[in-house]
Symmetry: C2
Subunit: 178 residues, 2 copies
């Protein structure tokens, strides 16, 4: 049996990176994130240097409009930031690479964009049936209340976790749950 030698072929790395980008795209899709956005993100978190819009278009074979939109979306999530080099007009991008920070950003944003509106909706629903008489109404109200309370708990846990970026306390607590 021949022992594999460490390779130095740059194509192997490019290939692996391409695979990763594809996979990350698929993973993103499963979590309700659009494929291109996930792929641009994947590209940036595994890039050793800043990337321009044109490089990203080139790498992923996508249009300028598409690249532009998804870069903006990633910036608005806070997952990447744009950098302008001195004396240059072109915009470059870099990703937050720390996995725990990434996770916290995503938690915070999904909480803001999805959990909050859901809470509001449930509260309204609860308020509107609060005064209704009858067993059916009571049961309905109880169920809505249970959901509402649950979301509230989730909200506060998520808030706590997502604020912990630097602290070692929450990662520790999670490890405790392991």
């Amino acid at each position: 049996m021949k022992k594999a030698q460490p390779e130095n072929d740059p194509r192997a790395l490019l290939q692996a990176r391409d695979d990763f980008v594809t996979q990350w795209g698929t993973i993103g899709t499963a979590w309700g994130i659009n494929r291109t956005m996930a792929q641009v993100h994947a590209l940036l978190i595994t890039s050793a240097h800043l990337l321009s819009t044109d490089e990203i278009m080139e790498d992923l074979k996508i249009s300028r409009g598409n690249a532009h939109k998804n870069l903006r979306d990633l910036v608005s999530w806070g997952l990447i930031r744009s950098v302008v080099r001195k004396g240059e007009r072109k915009e470059y991008f870099e990703a937050e690479k720390d996995v725990w920070k990434m996770f916290c950003i995503i938690l915070r944003e999904r909480r803001r964009r999805e959990l909050r509106p859901a809470q509001t909706a449930l509260h309204e629903c609860a308020a509107r049936t609060k005064g209704l008489k009858g067993a059916e109404a009571a049961a309905f109200n109880k169920q809505i209340k249970a959901l509402s309370d649950f979301l509230e708990l989730a909200d506060s846990v998520i808030t706590k976790i997502s604020r912990s970026e630097q602290s070692t306390m929450v990662p520790w607590a999670l490890r405790f749950l392991k």
Copy 2:
């Protein structure tokens, strides 16, 4: 200012329930779950009695095919179960209504359907670049490893939580994080 009296109008309850169904559909959509599936689920968790396919079609104004598919999907998630009453041929459905159990079921299933495949993909990716030389390759590998480790931690935390259905220990821990 006139104080609102407790109402007894059954239309008010129907209306509120309808709103809830709509809202739950929207919430589901944000989480990558199809609208109809979320609505059928909403209908069932707020129903005082078993519902048949026909009643669901009627309530949501959807086709038989659509109702059928989404009921099957919900059953395969374990969020609802089908019940056949003695002496009747028709199938009826009821939902798991306990919010914590619902949450655990969803965690378990998403772990199985989404987290697991992601882990596999990352492992492969890591393996394929393990032997590569050079600073770029090393950095890439490190990043993939970080993601992979993170998913592993997430996996074990989720496993622990989702197995806790009955126990009060994990809810307690979560409250501790509050």
